[in-house]
C-alpha cells in the first residue's frame, strides 16, 4: 500500500482550469441562441438588452412572453441535450481526479489513467444521472402523496405544508446521498483502478465505515457552492440599474462559477483521500 495521497489542488491548477473551461465554454456557446433571440427583440434599440433589466421588468416579461412560445416545444429535447453534456463532462472531471493522484504532466500520466478509466467513469456517471433524477422524482412524489395524508384531515394548513415540505426535503437528501456515493465511487474508480461495480462497493464501504467523515466535507462543499450562488444573486441585485453594470456582473458570475467548481474539486480531492489506498505512480504500474 502506497503512502501517496492526492496532490494539493493548486498543484493541479491546469486540470482545474480545464474543468472550469469545459463547464463555462459550452455554457457560453449554449447561451448564444438565447442572446440572439433577445437581440431580435431589443437589438434595434440603442439601449440594447439593458432594456430587459429596467426597473419594473416590463421588457423582461415581454421577452419571457416570446420565450414561452418556444420553451414548451424545446423542453422535451432538454434531456437529449443535457445527458450527452453530462457524459462529456466526465472527461475534464475525470482528468482532474486522475491528475490529483498522478505525478507528471497532465497529458501523459493523468491522461493515460483517464483513458484507462473512461469506460467505468462513463458507466458510473450515467448511473448517477439516472439515479439522481429518480431520487428527485421519488422524493417529490413521496411528498405530494404522503405529506398531506400523514398530516390528517384535521391538521392546520401550516402543519400540512410543513410536513409536505419535510417530505419534499427527502428529494434533495436522496439526491445528495446518491451524489455522495457516486463521488466516492468515481474516486475509487480512478484511484484504485476498480471497475464500476467494485467502485460502488468501495464507495458504500467508505460511507459505512465513516459516514460522518465523508458527509462533513461533502456538505461543506455544497454549503460553499450554495452560499456563493446566493451571494452572487444578492450582489447582482445591488448592481442592477447601475450604468455599465454588465461586465461586473459577468466577472462576478464567472468568479462564482469558478468558486463552485473549486469547491466541488476540493470535495473530490477529499473523496480520493477517503477511498485510499494510495494510487501507485504510473512508473510503478
Amino acid at each position: 500500500m502506497s503512502e501517496h495521497g492526492p496532490l494539493p489542488l493548486y498543484r493541479r491548477a491546469g486540470a482545474l482550469a480545464l474543468v472550469y473551461l469545459a463547464t463555462a465554454l459550452p455554457a457560453a456557446l449554449a447561451a448564444a441562441p438565447f442572446a440572439r433571440a433577445a437581440a431580435r427583440l431589443v437589438g434595434h434599440d440603442p439601449r440594447g438588452d439593458a432594456l430587459l433589466w429596467r426597473p419594473g421588468g416590463a421588457w423582461l416579461v415581454e421577452a419571457g412572453r416570446g420565450a414561452l412560445e418556444i420553451v414548451p416545444a424545446a423542453l422535451p429535447l432538454a434531456p437529449w441535450l443535457l445527458a450527452p453534456w453530462a457524459l462529456a463532462l466526465v472527461v475534464p472531471w475525470g482528468l482532474l481526479l486522475a491528475a490529483l493522484v498522478t505525478e507528471g504532466p497532465l497529458g501523459r500520466g493523468a491522461g493515460r489513467v483517464l483513458l484507462g478509466r473512461l469506460g467505468p467513469l462513463v458507466s458510473l456517471t450515467a448511473l448517477s444521472v439516472i439515479t439522481r433524477a429518480a431520487a428527485l422524482a421519488a422524493g417529490a412524489a413521496f411528498a405530494l402523496e404522503f405529506g398531506p395524508s400523514l398530516a390528517g384531515a384535521s391538521a392546520s394548513a401550516r402543519t400540512r405544508d410543513l410536513l409536505t415540505l419535510a417530505f419534499a426535503l427527502l428529494a434533495p437528501v436522496g439526491y445528495g446521498l446518491v451524489r455522495l456515493v457516486h463521488d466516492l465511487a468515481l474516486a475509487a474508480c480512478v484511484r484504485r483502478r476498480e471497475a464500476a461495480a467494485a467502485s460502488l462497493v468501495t464507495a458504500l464501504g467508505t460511507v459505512y465505515r465513516g459516514f460522518g467523515r465523508a458527509l462533513a466535507p461533502f456538505l461543506a462543499s455544497l454549503l460553499v457552492q450554495g452560499a456563493s450562488v446566493a451571494l452572487a444573486a444578492w450582489a447582482v441585485g445591488r448592481l442592477m440599474g447601475t450604468p455599465d453594470e454588465w461586465p461586473w456582473v459577468l466577472a462576478l458570475h464567472q468568479a462564482t462559477l469558478l468558486v463552485v467548481v473549486v469547491a466541488r474539486a476540493l470535495w473530490l480531492r477529499r473523496a480520493l483521500a477517503l477511498v485510499g489506498p494510495p494510487w501507485p505512480p504510473p512508473d510503478e504500474d
Binding site: H4, Y20, A27, A39, D45, D49, P247, A251, V259
Partner: protein
C-alpha cells in the same frame, strides 16, 4: 483523514506548486479586474446613448414632420345602443336612511317618509331620471329598507331566514311585478344555467361536492304604515308565482312574482319573505368548508329597478356578478356560541341566548349583505384612515395577515386621495381558511375576502394584490355601483387599474414581483394576457358575452387595466387619474354606465381621450406602433446630413406618443406625435447621421401589441450581452450540477 501528499520528485515538480498556486489566485483576480475594465471600455466604444443624459444637448437639428391622414369621419362620440348607459343618475328617494345613527335604528325605520296604508300606496312621483342629482355623498340612495333575521344550523349548513323589505318604486313607471334573484339555486343541480354553461376552468368551474339551494316558503305583501312598517292583511305572492326563471324551466335563479295591484311611481310596499338557504360546499364566492360558512348571495334579493321603469334582472351566469339598488340593511344573525361572525356593516348589538349568539349588524347606503360565521378563526382589529378594520383569519396566517394590513393601509390612503374618502366607518376583511380558498378574493359592501397561503408566498405580491383589489371594489362596485352583469369592465377593469396604480405607489417597481435580483411591476404581469386575447372580445361586453373564463379574466381585468394605463401613458397620468377620480366622486352612490365614464374622461381630457377610451372599450381598440423606415445620407442637405424616419400607427387606437432620435454624434432628440394619423415622417437636416429611432421609448403604451418593432437602427445589435452572460452563468451552474 487522508494520507499525506507525496514529496516533490524533481525540480520541475518542485516548481509546479508555486505556478499552480499563482494560477489559482490569478484567475479570479483577472476575472474580477480585467474583464470589467475590458468590457466597460468596449461598451463605451459602442456608445449607445440614452436620452436621459443627452436629450436635446447636441448641435441643432432641423426636423420637418409630415403626418398621415387622420380618419376621414370622426367615429361616434357615444357608445353603441347595445350598451347604453345602464342606470342614469336618479334623484334622491322620498325616503332614505342616510345617517350612521339610523343604522342602529329598529328594523324598518329606514323608510322614514310617510306612506299610505294601501298595499300599493301612492306618493308624488320622483323627478325624471334624466334630471341630474347632486353628486357624491350628498345624494345617498336608499330605495329599500331590508331587515333580515338568519338562524345558522352549522351542522346542516342551513340558514333559516326571514326578510322584511320596505320597497319604494323610485322609477317613473308603475310596476305590477317584482323580480327576485335566488342565486343559491345556481348550485341546486347541474341543470341550472350556471352549471350548464361550460366556460372552462376557473372559479365556479365545476359543480360543488354538496349542492346548495334557497327555498322560498312564503312571500307576503303588506301595505306600509305611517312609520314605514308593514301594515294590514298579508297577500300571498309566492303561491301563484312560477318557480323558475322566465323562459328556462330548469333554472330558478331569476323569478317573477306578480303583484295584485301596480305600485305607482313613488309608491311603497312592504314584503315579508320566509326562506331556507342550504349552503353548498364552497363554490363561486359562497358556501361552507368545515365550520367556515361564507354566507353570500344567500337571501331572496329584489332585482334592481331602473329609473326608467324596467327591472334589471337576469339569471345567475357563470361569469356574471350582480346589480342591486342601494338600501339599508339591518340583519340579526343567530349562530351557535363559539362561532365568530363577520358581516356587512357595523355590529350594533350582541347578546347570548340559550347557547347561541345573536349579533345584529346594520349598514346604510349599501346594495348587498353578506356574512361569515366560523369557528377557529382569529380576529384582529386595526384603525385605518378613520375606519375600524376587522380582520378574521385562520391561525398560522400571521405573515399573510401582516402583508394584508400593510396593503390595506396603502389602499385606504391611495383610494381616498384618488377617488374620495371611504364613506363607511367599518371594513371587515376575511381570509378564508384552507379548503375555502374559492371564497377568497370577493367583495361585498364593507366586507371583502382576501386569500393566500399561510407563509405568504415569497417574491410574488399576490396577497397584496388581492387585498388591494377587493378593497378597491368598495369604490368600483360598492360606491360606484355599476351593473356588474352588463358592464363588468366598469367594476373589474377600473378596480384592476386602480389596484395597479396603488400597488405601484406603495411598492414601486416591485409591485408585482419582488426579489433581490428582479423587480417586476404589476402592469408587466398583466400585459401578456391583455395583449394575447385582448382583441378577441370587446372590452365592454356584458359578462355573458365572453366565450371563456380565461377571456373574461384577460380582457376585463388585464386589458381593462392596461387600457387605462395606456391612456395614462399617452395623455398623462394626471389627466386619466383626474378623470377617473371625477367619475368616482360624481357617481358615488349611483349606478353609472359606460356613458358616465366616457363623459368624465371627455370633460377631464378632451375629445381625443374620450374617443380613445370609447374605441378601446367598444371597438376592440388596438395599437401597434412601428418604426418602418430609417435612412441617412451624408453630404446632403444644408447642414451636412439629411436623414429620414417613418413611424406608423396600426390599429384603431389613436394615441399621442413620443419618438426618440439618436444621432451619430451622441445627440438624442425627442419629438411628440399626436398619433391621430396613420403615420408620421420626419426629414431631418443636421451635422450628423441619424443612427436609430425609437417610438414610445419609455414603453408608455402598454397595449402596443408589438414592442419589438418600436425601434429601428442602421446598425442593429445582433447580440444581447447581458442575456448571454446570465444564460451562460446559469447553464454553467447546471453543468456543475449535472457533472459526474
Amino acid at each position: 483523514m487522508g494520507p499525506p501528499a507525496p514529496a516533490p520528485r524533481d525540480r520541475r515538480a518542485a516548481a509546479r506548486p508555486a505556478v499552480g498556486r499563482a494560477l489559482a489566485y490569478a484567475l479570479p483576480i483577472a476575472l474580477a479586474c480585467l474583464l470589467p475594465a475590458a468590457f466597460a471600455a468596449a461598451r463605451r466604444a459602442q456608445a449607445p446613448g440614452d436620452a436621459s443624459g443627452a436629450a436635446g444637448s447636441g448641435p441643432a437639428y432641423v426636423f420637418r414632420a409630415r403626418f398621415g391622414d387622420a380618419p376621414a369621419a370622426p367615429p361616434p362620440a357615444s357608445p353603441p345602443p347595445a350598451l347604453p348607459r345602464l342606470a342614469p343618475s336618479a334623484p334622491a328617494p322620498p325616503g332614505s336612511a342616510a345617517s350612521a345613527a339610523s343604522a342602529a335604528a329598529p328594523p324598518g325605520s329606514a323608510a322614514s317618509a310617510p306612506a299610505s296604508s294601501a298595499p300599493a300606496s301612492s306618493a308624488p312621483p320622483p323627478p325624471s331620471p334624466a334630471a341630474p342629482g347632486p353628486p357624491g355623498d350628498a345624494a345617498p340612495r336608499a330605495w329599500h329598507a331590508t331587515t333580515l333575521r338568519a338562524v345558522l344550523d352549522p351542522a346542516a349548513h342551513v340558514v333559516a331566514g326571514e326578510e322584511e323589505i320596505v320597497w319604494t318604486n323610485h322609477s317613473v313607471r308603475s310596476t305590477d311585478e317584482l323580480y327576485w334573484h335566488l342565486y343559491l339555486n345556481a348550485f341546486r343541480d347541474t341543470r341550472s344555467l350556471f352549471l350548464r354553461e361550460s366556460l372552462g376552468p376557473g372559479r365556479g368551474g365545476r359543480p360543488p361536492d354538496d349542492a346548495g339551494r334557497v327555498d322560498v316558503e312564503r312571500i307576503d305583501l303588506f301595505a306600509v304604515d305611517a312609520e314605514g312598517r308593514p301594515a294590514g292583511e298579508p297577500v300571498d305572492l309566492w303561491g301563484p308565482a312560477e318557480k323558475h326563471t322566465p323562459g328556462d324551466p330548469e333554472d330558478a335563479t331569476d323569478l317573477r312574482v306578480a303583484l295584485p295591484r301596480p305600485v305607482p311611481p313613488g309608491g311603497r310596499i312592504a314584503l315579508r319573505v320566509r326562506f331556507r338557504a342550504k349552503l353548498p360546499s364552497i363554490v363561486e364566492r359562497t358556501g361552507y368548508s368545515g365550520t367556515f360558512h361564507m354566507v353570500a348571495q344567500w337571501f331572496p334579493k329584489l332585482a334592481q329597478r331602473t329609473p326608467e321603469g324596467t327591472w334589471n334582472h337576469f339569471p345567475f351566469h357563470r361569469l356574471a356578478e350582480f346589480a342591486a339598488d342601494f338600501g339599508s340593511y339591518d340583519a340579526t344573525l343567530d349562530v351557535p356560541e363559539g362561532y365568530l361572525v363577520g358581516a356587512t356593516g357595523r355590529l350594533v348589538e350582541e347578546r347570548r341566548e340559550g347557547g347561541r349568539v345573536l349579533a345584529r349588524y346594520a349598514q346604510d347606503r349599501v346594495h348587498d349583505f353578506a356574512w361569515v360565521a366560523a369557528t377557529g378563526l382569529l380576529e384582529r382589529r386595526e384603525r385605518v384612515a378613520g375606519a375600524d378594520v376587522r380582520l378574521l383569519y385562520p391561525p398560522g396566517h400571521e405573515r399573510a395577515l401582516a402583508r394584508e394590513i400593510d396593503a390595506l393601509a396603502g389602499a385606504f390612503d391611495c383610494f381616498g386621495r384618488r377617488y374620495g374618502p371611504y364613506p363607511y366607518d367599518v371594513l371587515t376583511v376575511v381570509h378564508p381558511p384552507p379548503g375555502a380558498e374559492e371564497a377568497g378574493g370577493m367583495e361585498y359592501p364593507t366586507l371583502v375576502t382576501t386569500g393566500g397561503p399561510w407563509h405568504g408566498p415569497p417574491l410574488a405580491r399576490s396577497i397584496e394584490a388581492v387585498t388591494v383589489h377587493e378593497f378597491g371594489h368598495q369604490y368600483f362596485y360598492g360606491l360606484v355601483a355599476s351593473d356588474e352583469h352588463a358592464a363588468p369592465f366598469l367594476d373589474e377593469g377600473l378596480t384592476s387599474y386602480a389596484e395597479g396604480a396603488c400597488l405601484d405607489e406603495r411598492y414601486g417597481p416591485g409591485s408585482g414581483l419582488e426579489s433581490p435580483w428582479l423587480r417586476v411591476e404589476s402592469a408587466a404581469l398583466m400585459r401578456p394576457g391583455a395583449v394575447e386575447s385582448g382583441r378577441d372580445v370587446p372590452l365592454a361586453s356584458p359578462a355573458t358575452g365572453f366565450p371563456s373564463a380565461r377571456h373574461y379574466g384577460t380582457v376585463v381585468y388585464e386589458r381593462g387595466a392596461l387600457l387605462l394605463r395606456t391612456l395614462a401613458g399617452a395623455f398623462g397620468a394626471d389627466v386619466v387619474d383626474g378623470a377617473l377620480g371625477r367619475y368616482a366622486r360624481e357617481q358615488r352612490f349611483r349606478h353609472p354606465g359606460p356613458a358616465e365614464l366616457l363623459a368624465a374622461f371627455g370633460e377631464a381630457g378632451g375629445p381625443d381621450l374620450r374617443e380613445a377610451l370609447r374605441a378601446g372599450l367598444f371597438e376592440r381598440g388596438w395599437l401597434d406602433v412601428a418604426v418602418t423606415d430609417l435612412s441617412s445620407r451624408p453630404g446632403e442637405g444644408p447642414r451636412g446630413t439629411r436623414s429620414r424616419a417613418v413611424v406608423v400607427r396600426r390599429g384603431n387606437l389613436a394615441l399621442p406618443l413620443r419618438v426618440r432620435f439618436f444621432f451619430d454624434d451622441g445627440t438624442v432628440e425627442d419629438r411628440a406625435w399626436a398619433g391621430q394619423g396613420t403615420f408620421a415622417a420626419w426629414d431631418i437636416d443636421g451635422p450628423s447621421a441619424l443612427r436609430a429611432v425609437v417610438a414610445d421609448p419609455e414603453g408608455a403604451l402598454w397595449l402596443d401589441e408589438n414592442w419589438a418593432n418600436n425601434a429601428r437602427s442602421l446598425e442593429p445589435q445582433t447580440n444581447a450581452p447581458r442575456v448571454w452572460e446570465r444564460a451562460a452563468y446559469w447553464l454553467g451552474l447546471l453543468g456543475v450540477a449535472l457533472a459526474p
